[in-house]
């Protein structure tokens, strides 16, 4: 990708600038947005995902550090009031149940048995657990996983073309062409 293409990509996203109010929102998105934008202007920040993956899987794993982190996270998650309900969800909950304590024990077991070949494997397993809580207030932005954000160069949007039909998925922006076609093919009243 050339610098011009990268700049165009970022211009399309237009998420350059910092906003104080993002102190609440996922800082991961904001900080990565800001820093990424600045670096794109220097041409250093966009890579093939597969290259980033080669980098991430070359980061060595340390069981002692991982165990210490797991213990710390476990102490913190005791404050999470939905633990029992995630394990035993009420009727109507649309996500799979998750027993957080059991999952932590499983991850610790993997650490003990040396099952994680590199830091990415461990962190991905751990991050999947945090996502399994489906709680926007349980976020983990740390370690090797925080170094890269993965991206499709094209955004997609779910749009109903006329506000009446069910929505379909489009490449963002391309639905204007479809809508225009639809409008111009309408019979005059």
């Amino acid at each position: 990708m050339t610098l011009e293409e990268a700049s165009t990509l970022v211009t399309q996203h237009r998420s350059f600038f910092d906003r104080r109010r993002f102190q609440f929102l996922d800082r991961f998105v904001l900080e990565s947005t800001l820093k990424r934008a600045l670096l794109i202007l220097k041409g250093y920040s966009i890579f093939w995902a597969s290259d980033a993956q080669k980098c991430l899987t070359s980061v060595p794993f340390n069981g002692a550090v991982a165990s210490r982190f797991l213990k710390y996270w476990n102490e913190t998650i005791q404050f999470q009031s939905t633990l029992a309900y995630l394990k035993n969800p009420p009727e109507g909950y649309q996500q799979p149940a998750v027993d957080v304590q059991a999952e932590l024990a499983r991850i610790q077991q993997n650490i003990n048995e040396g099952s994680y070949a590199n830091q990415y494997e461990f962190e991905a397993d751990f991050e999947l657990l945090t996502y399994a809580l489906h709680d926007g207030h349980v976020t983990l932005t740390a370690g090797a996983l925080s170094a890269f954000s993965f991206a499709s160069p094209f955004e997609i949007a779910s749009v109903s073309i006329d506000g009446k039909q069910p929505p379909r998925v489009y490449i963002t922006g391309s639905y204007f062409n479809v809508a225009n076609d639809l409008a111009s093919s309408k019979e005059p009243a």
């Binding site: 996203h13 906003r19 991961f28």
Partner: protein
């Protein structure tokens, strides 16, 4: 998925800029209408400022920095190039049209002061007199404290002008609203329904560390002497602290909790132990003012606002989750209250409001 209400908040979607996990090398979009497939690659965006670390030449360097926070030995801080921003502060646009790539209309009937991605305003309103409907756009409750007055003014203006125009219906657009200042939806709800008192109750897990923390902070707060100027100041500053329970109301009795001991239960639910249910004391002005000035806490804000507008029989409103046809699981609002960002300092010493997020 991208969406105009997300664009105006300046964010990147998980699909196109904030993905956590390696998605693969190649990415191919195929189209229903037979257009040639779009073949591209997945990208990775490096989030760190390269100059701030120097070269991370090995997996070990990478581990030391990203996992342990240690800079490589070769790092030379004099080589840091601070980022440059081109141009100065921009003038606030008076609509969301540009930021939403044309999705939001150009001339809102109501627009909060200083509207814009780079600015503090959030609220816009649109009157459609031909269909007797007003649309109030609330893309976020995450308002900078200094702008909350303007935020609620915009909502009040909307209500007043919509009423004056004789509009019969109001649609409140909360799409992609991530939450923010807890008191905002209370204020907005009361603006629409002045005679109704919303019930917002919460409880927490009752376990040893939480109860030690709560007892220590609440007992300390209660011991502060209001006749001493400094202690009185501190008492006011700590009034909205999450670990001070005496300013909260016992939902069962309607009276303030007298101590953490009264609050901590334990009450058994679903195989776990919880505190009693607490409510905010909205009549407590000190509480409200410190709550707003401190770090904002998201609560079940959208859920709150939508649940309080059900069922139709009590106040004539309905809430719709888009899409309206049952196509499968739809995105509803979640009901979690922010208490997640505890820092180790919370355990080390009693937190001041600004660090208790």
């Amino acid at each position: 998925m991208s969406h105009p209400t997300f664009d105006i908040q300046g964010g990147l979607t998980t699909f196109s800029g904030a993905g956590t996990f390696y998605p693969g090398e190649n990415l191919t979009f195929t189209f229903e209408n037979g257009t040639d497939p779009l073949e591209t690659i997945w990208l990775a965006i490096y989030n760190e400022l390269a100059n701030y670390t120097g070269p991370l030449a090995t997996g070990g360097d990478f581990y030391n920095y990203f996992v342990l926070g240690l800079l490589p030995d070769s790092f030379d801080p004099t080589t840091i190039v601070p980022p440059t921003f081109s141009g100065g502060p921009s003038e606030a646009p008076t609509n969301w049209t540009g930021s939403s790539y044309g999705a939001f209309p150009e001339d809102p009937s109501i627009a909060q002061a200083d509207l814009g991605i780079l600015h503090g305003g959030l609220v816009t309103g649109y009157f459609y007199e031909d269909i007797s409907t007003g649309v109030l756009s609330l893309p976020s409750f995450d308002a900078i404290p200094e702008t909350i007055g303007d935020y609620t003014d915009a909502v009040s203006d909307f209500i007043r002008n919509a009423s004056a125009a004789g509009l019969e219906r109001v649609v409140i657009d909360l799409q992609r609203n991530p939450g923010g200042a807890i008191l905002l939806p209370y204020i907005i709800f009361k603006s629409f329904f002045p005679d109704l008192m919303p019930f917002g109750g919460s409880r927490r897990r009752s376990f040893e560390l939480a109860n030690v923390l709560g007892s220590a902070v609440s007992d300390y707060w209660a011991s502060l002497n209001e006749t001493d100027p400094y202690e009185s100041f501190l008492k006011a500053e700590l009034a909205a602290d999450e670990w001070v329970i005496e300013t909260r109301i016992n939902a069962a009795t309607g009276k303030n909790f007298t101590s953490w001991t009264e609050y901590q239960g334990p009450v058994n639910h679903n195989g776990d132990t919880f505190s009693l249910t607490e409510r905010y004391d909205l009549a407590n002005k000190v509480f409200a003012s410190v709550r707003i000035d401190g770090f904002n806490q998201s609560s079940r804000l959208c859920l709150f606002l939508t649940q309080r507008t059900r069922p139709p029989s009590t106040n004539g409103t309905q809430s719709c989750i888009y899409p309206t046809k049952p196509l499968g699981p739809s995105q509803s609002v979640r009901g979690s209250r922010s208490k997640s960002s505890f820092l180790q300092t919370d355990f080390a010493h009693p937190p001041a409001p600004s660090s208790s997020k």
